[in-house]
């Protein structure tokens, strides 16, 4: 209503560009695949996306290394250009925008006024609150002040990266700047955490796309992360899982087990306690992910990952059984010599998981979902 003449639907934009139905269906098929939606959802997604209008996005950066933005700008599908120009209207990002200084701030204020209550606030980095917030200042204001101001009119806040989601490295002991996670500073606002150090680019893009498609905050886990990407542990989706189930572990980085691609659990892999999509979406356009490259998962998408002891020590038993301990089903499978059971259980559980997700999506959404949800 605020800017009807500026707001064609995404479908109208695509028609103007002469984008064919096949092209759009292909795009949505790739997106549905990325979002781990059931494949038949691509058609519904195409219809919803065509009818949707691009939301205004304001992107703020606080205590961070810009690795998250680096990750997003290396997103392959959709490319960042595609995302920016076709799906969202990026109205403020002090790293990417051409304007600087007072012009940039004026653009932010104009976008906030025109889209009050409707814009999407994307944040990367933790916000320092110690000593009056002086450890992050921009345009003469503290980070805390900027965040509070921008959060007021936001429809939802998407925290990109572990720093914004959980405090991350700035929050790590002894946290000299009093860094805090965004969700603790914006009471009452719907928050979506897209954690990871950095997050997978497709997960950032996919979360934004999902918001545009559905017009609401996605289903979230207990850490406010979209379950569609953070619903499974790295371990559950790991292609090395069958070796875990068989009790075949690499003990050092250059032993026979490491060369044979066995499970990295005993080298400190945090896959069993880490929820992210690295094992399925992977990195650099699905080329590989840390475990595939022979390195244990660091657990970077989890709260306090930096303070959980050595990256190279096996997960302590209180959190995840004893090293090499297996479930009764796996134990029975190993005892019976049915080495393939692990793989069968793995794929079977994934298929079941997908059915669970599909069922969940068909069910009407409970209004009393997560605390921070709309």
């Amino acid at each position: 209503m605020a800017r009807p003449e500026l707001e064609p639907t995404i479908g109208e934009l695509l028609d103007r560009q002469g984008v064919s139905r096949r092209s759009f269906v292909k795009y949505c098929t790739a997106m549905a695949s990325l979002l781990a939606l059931p494949p038949h959802a691509a058609r519904a997604m195409a219809e919803q996306l065509r009818a949707a209008r691009r939301p205004s996005v304001i992107y703020l950066s606080f205590q961070e290394c810009t690795g998250c933005l680096e990750s997003l700008t290396r997103s392959f599908a959709p490319t960042i250009e595609n995302l920016i120009f076709n799906v969202v209207s990026l109205d403020y990002d002090d790293t990417l925008m051409a304007a600087a200084g007072s012009q940039a701030e004026a653009a932010r204020e104009q976008a906030m006024r025109a889209n009050y209550g409707k814009y999407l606030l994307v944040v990367d980095g933790a916000v320092p609150t110690g000593d009056g917030g002086v450890y992050h200042c921009a345009a003469g204001r503290t980070g805390l002040d900027i965040l509070t101001d921008c959060a007021k009119g936001a429809a939802a806040i998407v925290c990109v990266g572990t720093c914004a989601s959980f405090g991350g490295l700035p929050f790590a002991d002894p946290n000299p700047t009093g860094a805090r996670a965004i969700s603790t500073l914006v009471p009452g606002k719907p928050v979506v955490n897209v954690s990871g150090c950095p997050p997978i680019p497709e997960v950032i893009a996919g979360t934004l796309l999902q918001y545009v498609t559905s017009g609401r905050v996605p289903d979230l886990d207990e850490h406010l992360r979209p379950t569609v990407f953070f619903g499974n542990s790295i371990h559950d989706r790991c292609y090395r899982r069958p070796f875990y189930d068989q009790g075949k572990f690499a003990k050092t980085f250059d032993d026979e087990g490491a060369r044979n691609g066995w499970c990295l659990y005993e080298l400190g892999c945090k896959g069993p306690t880490t929820y992210n999509a690295c094992a399925t979406i992977k990195w650099n356009n699905a080329v590989s992910f840390p475990i595939q490259s022979g390195h244990p998962c660091l657990g970077c998408a989890e709260p306090n990952f930096w303070d959980r002891g050595s990256f190279y020590s096996p997960i302590p038993s209180p959190r995840w059984g004893k090293a090499g301990e297996v479930s009764p089903v796996q134990a029975a499978a190993i005892a019976a010599g049915a080495a393939v059971a692990g793989a069968a259980i793995g794929v079977g559980s994934v298929l079941l998981g997908r059915r669970r997700i599909a069922r969940h999506q068909q069910e009407p959404k409970s209004p009393s979902g997560k605390g921070n949800e709309e």
């Binding site: 292909k26 695949s33 790991c238 794929v347």
Partner: protein, 151 residues
């Protein structure tokens, strides 16, 4: 030793089940799902699909799956923002669809269970757009002929 490929690394393949012949347990689960989708298509006409992205399959598993399904009669290539290849497998009604972007990178791999995959069908809007394009070119042509002395 100059390239990465020359470093001797042996990746042990996931073992193959002896109980189910040559098909591994994981592949068996997918084939069973495809059979179920085929039966549903025959019964209700509702198409189905399996997205291979989020299944923990190694390249060897994929190759094995493709081999289990075999090569069929139709092989369609679509040039839309990069190539898409839609192949019918030896199992009628089961299609192996690969979508690539303009730089050839794989965007999605699906096993579709349908009479014809939806993406091959021409949309109604595209039909009308095509018709109006032809009409416009006919109008231009006749206008040009009208101006010609030999017209």
């Amino acid at each position: 030793m100059t390239t990465l490929a020359q470093i001797p690394v042996c990746v042990e393949p996931v073992p193959v089940s002896h109980e189910e012949g040559t098909v591994g347990g994981g592949i068996g689960a997918i084939l069973a799902e495809i059979a179920e989708l085929l039966e549903r298509l025959a019964r209700t006409g509702e198409p189905g699909a399996i997205d291979l992205r989020s299944l923990p399959l190694s390249p060897a598993d994929r190759a094995q799956l493709l081999q289990a399904l075999g090569t069929g009669e139709v092989d369609a290539r679509m040039q839309v923002n990069g190539e898409s290849r839609i192949r019918e497998t030896a199992v009628h009604g089961v299609w192996w669809t690969e979508h690539r972007d303009s730089s050839g990178e794989l965007l999605a791999t699906l096993i579709e269970v349908a009479r014809v995959p939806d993406i091959l069908i021409v949309g109604e809007d595209d039909l009308l757009r095509g018709a109006s394009r032809l009409r416009a070119s006919l109008t231009l042509q006749s206008a040009a002929q009208g101006e010609s002395p030999h017209g």
